[in-house]
Amino acid sequence: MGVKIVPRHGDSLKEKLYLLAIVGGLKVTFSHFMKNLKDTSNIETICYPEEQPKDITSRYRGVHRLTKREDDSVRCVACFMCATACPAECIFIEAVEREDGVDEKMPSKFSIDLLECVFCGGCVEACPCDAIRMDTGIFSFVKKNREDFVLDRDTLLSHKPMKGSN
């Protein structure tokens, strides 16, 4: 009752000869080789800098961006929720009064230090007015010195959302 007999392999002459199994293995590798030799586009490898990955999903957390209102002004109201939520403390905001009557406050400076950022998405979760998002799909950011990694307000505003997300 309840005992399962597992069949043992490797005792028959065919299995002990090994050579048949080796021929089987050789056939598998050769079929792969011929398939790829005939047409190298069968290979899934991406030739990276020239060919960018196409499988970044809309939920991928890339470099941040600041969203805009209908009239192309900054949506952020400088409430400091994101900076408070940030576990890496990499968001630096300076608020000023908003003069155009659209809202009460706006950030005069809004910078994110990408070297500190852990890309947890906490700022996006915390934002009450959907002003910060991480849907740019930018996964590679290379700069020449440390200061350049601190993205300022205008850079963050200039980032575009990735195609296919909204």
């Binding site: 050769f30 792969h32 080789f33 047409d39 490898t45 030739c47 020239e50």
Partner: protein, 427 residues
């Protein structure tokens, strides 16, 4: 010393250099590209000189250049400095010297004088190869011991034990081949394989002696320390085995020596079992008698094959960045192929129209046979690479069991059966 003899000797030595040293970058490239394709990867394909990539072959030269210019570091713990330096040289030199006894073509007859088409024109080829095949292992042993490192020593010991075990089997499988061929001269062996069995099967070693062929191929893998018998290097267990302490060109010599050893093993298998330079069903006499027909066939087939090859290049040799220099390569390659085709067809056409003397016939037959040998050698090398990227490494006890309990009895039985047959049939 006449000029014919000198030019033939020079040709043979250059040939030996090409199939051993010049083939090494090609083999490294083949290994990496074939491995890539078998695992659905691309392999090295970016390296280029002014846009010429040759399918990634340039990468091998870059790697070699890197090895030459790297710091040649020797650990302070290495006390046997002389042996430490000598061992890669031994590995390299023995592997390279083994190539000297491989015939590239049938004896070339010029002005009624016969010349042996080997780098060293000698008639005891098999003994020469056996002598040097056994010597190469000293390099690994000395290197492993002189490194003064436990992992290196383990690698050296493993290599020694493995080669000693498999050398016995290899020797016995060669004995059965010697009984069949009745000669130790490599040229005689290949000439024997130009005959036909029962009038329609080429009498290649693999058909006359299939068991010896399988044994020899298995032991050749073990002799060259290649997968599935590469426990001497055993990265997962003993770092790098015997070459753990080596760097720069000292390591490079081990590396090159290993690939030359693979080439030698392939050349031996081709010579002993796959008909050497013989084109199946077309031995030297047949080739000499039908040389005009063969030229005509070549004139038709070479352009067709080149056309197919050019189509393949056009389809596969593309670079995504349209402005990159690498995209110009396809045009150059196809122009090169067209020029080569025109030259070959021109020459063959002249030969066909005006005829060539007896010397010309002999030389063109030799050229055809050299090309056949090189093609067979490359195919055998491909087989080595193919097996490496298919099979997993043996465990040490499995390896020794296979040698002593399985292969050795089969080899001895094969020698007895072969001997009995030869005596009974009175061949």
């Amino acid at each position: 010393m006449n000029s014919t003899l000198v030019s033939i000797v020079i040709f043979n030595i250059v040939m030996a250099l090409i199939v051993s040293l010049v083939f090494v970058p090609v083999l490294v490239w083949m290994e990496r590209r074939v491995a890539g394709f078998m695992q659905d990867r691309l392999g090295p394909n970016r390296c280029n000189i002014a846009g010429v990539r040759l399918g990634g072959l340039v990468q091998s030269f870059a790697d070699m250049l890197k090895l030459v210019f790297k710091e040649d570091y020797r650990a302070g713990a290495v006390k046997e400095k002389m042996l430490f330096t000598l061992s890669p040289v031994i590995v390299f030199a023995t592997a390279y010297l083994s190539f000297m006894a491989i015939p590239f073509a049938d004896d070339l007859v010029i002005d009624d004088k016969s010349y042996i088409m080997q780098a060293l024109p000698m008639e005891f080829g098999m003994l020469w190869i056996l002598a040097f095949a056994g010597l190469g292992i000293y390099g690994l042993m000395l290197g492993g011991w002189a490194s003064n490192n436990k992992y290196s020593l383990l690698g050296g010991i493993r290599a020694a034990a493995q080669v000693v075990s498999y050398e016995a089997v290899m020797g016995l499988s060669i004995v059965s081949m010697l009984i069949v061929y009745g000669s130790i001269h490599m040229g005689d062996m290949v000439r024997f394989q130009g005959n036909l069995v029962w009038g329609f099967i080429p009498a290649w070693g693999i058909i006359v002696q299939p068991v010896a062929a399988i044994l020899f191929i298995i032991t050749a893998f073990a002799e060259t320390n290649r997968a599935p018998f590469d426990i001497a290097e055993g990265e997962s267990e003993i770092v790098g085995g015997f070459h753990t302490e080596y760097s720069a060109m000292r390591f490079g010599l081990f590396f090159v020596g290993e690939y030359i050893a693979m080439g030698v093993a392939s050349a031996l298998i081709v010579t002993l079992f796959l008909g050497g330079y013989q084109i199946p069903w077309l031995n030297t006499e047949v080739l000499k008698n039908n040389i005009t027909t063969i030229f005509a066939v070549l004139i038709v087939t070479i352009p067709i094959l080149s056309y197919m090859f050019a189509g393949w290049i056009k389809k596969n040799n593309v670079w995504l960045d349209k402005n990159d220099a690498r995209n110009r390569e396809t045009k150059w390659l196809i122009t090169g192929i067209v020029i080569i085709n025109i030259i070959i067809i021109l020459f063959l056409g002249i030969f066909l129209l005006f005829g060539i003397g007896e010397n010309g016939v002999n030389i063109s037959v030799a050229a055809l046979q050299v090309m056949t040998f090189v093609v067979k050698l490359l195919m055998m090398n491909f087989f080595f690479i193919w097996v490496r990227w298919t099979l997993a490494r043996f465990r040490y006890d499995q390896l020794q069991n296979l040698a002593w309990k399985v292969l050795l009895p089969i080899a001895i039985a094969n020698v007895f059966i072969t001997g009995t047959f030869v005596v009974m049939l009175g061949v």
